[in-house]
Subunit: 160 residues, 2 copies
DNA sequence: TAAATAGTTGGCGCTACACAAACGATCCGT
DNA sequence: ACGGATCGTTTGTGTAGCGCCAACTATTTA
C-alpha cells in the first residue's frame, strides 16, 4: 500500500464530545447539587429558556428522550418550582412548559457557579476559543433534529 | 430593578456539550453496533490511539473512570481483539495497553462510518466550522485532568 | 519482610435511560 | 354523536454505564 500522510485518522468529533462532556458533567455535579440540580436538569432548563415555552412533545423531540422520561424530568423541575406546566388554550390535552422566574434565576445561578468548572475543564482554550466553542455548540444544537418520518425517508441508517 | 441587556444569560458550554454529545451518541449507536462497538469503546480506543500505549491507571485517569470499570471496558476490547495488554518490563504489576492493528483499523472504519452521523448531527456547521469544533474539542480533551491531589490543593470545589 | 501498589473478579447500588401497557382527558373526522 | 387518534400520566420492566467495596494474586518498595 502506498505510504500516505502520517496522520490518516479521520477527524471525528463524536468520541471527543463524549469525552469532554463527561469531564464537564463530573465536575459540574458538585456545583449543581447544592442548587438542587443535575446535569440533565440543566440541559432541559437551557432548552426551555431558549424556546420560551414548548409542549412536552416538543421538548421530548429536542432532547431526544422518550415522552415518559420527559414526564419524570419535568416532575422533578416542577416540584422544585423551576418550571410550570400550563394547559394550551388551543388544545387542552397539551401542556406548554416554561421556566418560572425561579427557574430562570436558578439557571443563571447555576451558570455563574459553573464558571470555575469551565475554567478548569476548558483550561487549554483561551477565552476567544471558549467563546467559539460555545457558539459552535449552540448553533449545532439549535438545529432541530429531523422527525422520525423525515429521517427515515432520507437516511436508512437513521435511528428511526 | 434597572433594565439590563436583553440577553443576560451566562455563556456556558456544559449543557450544550451534554446535549450535542447525546444526539451524537444516539445517532452513532446504530452505526457502531455492526462493528461491535459502543460509544464508550470509541472513546477508549481514541484515547489509546492518541497515547500510543498507556497503563490502565493512566487510562483510568484520562477517562475519569474507576479502575474496576476500566478493567471491564478493556476486557470487552481485548476479547474483541482491539487492544492488547502487555506487562510492563519496568514494573510487572502493570499492564501497558495499546491498540492492536485490528483495533486501529476498526477505529478507522468506525470513524469512516460516522461521517454520515456527523453530517447529520453537525448539519448546521459548515466544514470549516466542523474542523474548528474538532480542533477545540481535541485540544480541550488533550489536557490531562489534574490528579486528585493537585485538584484538591487548588480548588475546593473539585470532585476530589 | 511487611506494607504498598497494579490489576482482577465479583457484588451491590444508583442514575438515566428505552420501552410497554393501561388509563383519563381532549380533539378530530365522519 | 361517536370512534379513533392524540397528549400526557402512571406504573412496571429491563439495560447500560457507571461508583464503590471487598477480597484476592503478583509484584515492587522501603
Amino acid at each position: 500500500m502506498p505510504a500516505g500522510p502520517v496522520d490518516q485518522t479521520e477527524r471525528r468529533s463524536g468520541a471527543l464530545l463524549d469525552h469532554l462532556a463527561r469531564r464537564m458533567r463530573l465536575r459540574s455535579e458538585s456545583v449543581l447539587a447544592p442548587l438542587g440540580l443535575r446535569p440533565r436538569h440543566l440541559v432541559a432548563l437551557t432548552v426551555l429558556r431558549e424556546a420560551g415555552g414548548m409542549s412536552q412533545q416538543g421538548l421530548a423531540g429536542r432532547l431526544q428522550l422518550d415522552g415518559t422520561n420527559v414526564v419524570g424530568l419535568l416532575n422533578d423541575l416542577e416540584t422544585a418550582g423551576l418550571v410550570e406546566r400550563r394547559r394550551s388554550p388551543e388544545d387542552r390535552r397539551r401542556h406548554v412548559v416554561s421556566l418560572t422566574q425561579t427557574g430562570a434565576k436558578r439557571l443563571n445561578e447555576a451558570e455563574c457557579a459553573l464558571a470555575s468548572v469551565e475554567d478548569e475543564v476548558l483550561g487549554a482554550l483561551d477565552p476567544a476559543e471558549r467563546e467559539t466553542l460555545y457558539d459552535l455548540l449552540r448553533r449545532a444544537t439549535s438545529e432541530v433534529p429531523p422527525t422520525c418520518a423525515e429521517a427515515a425517508g432520507n437516511d436508512p441508517d437513521s435511528l428511526c
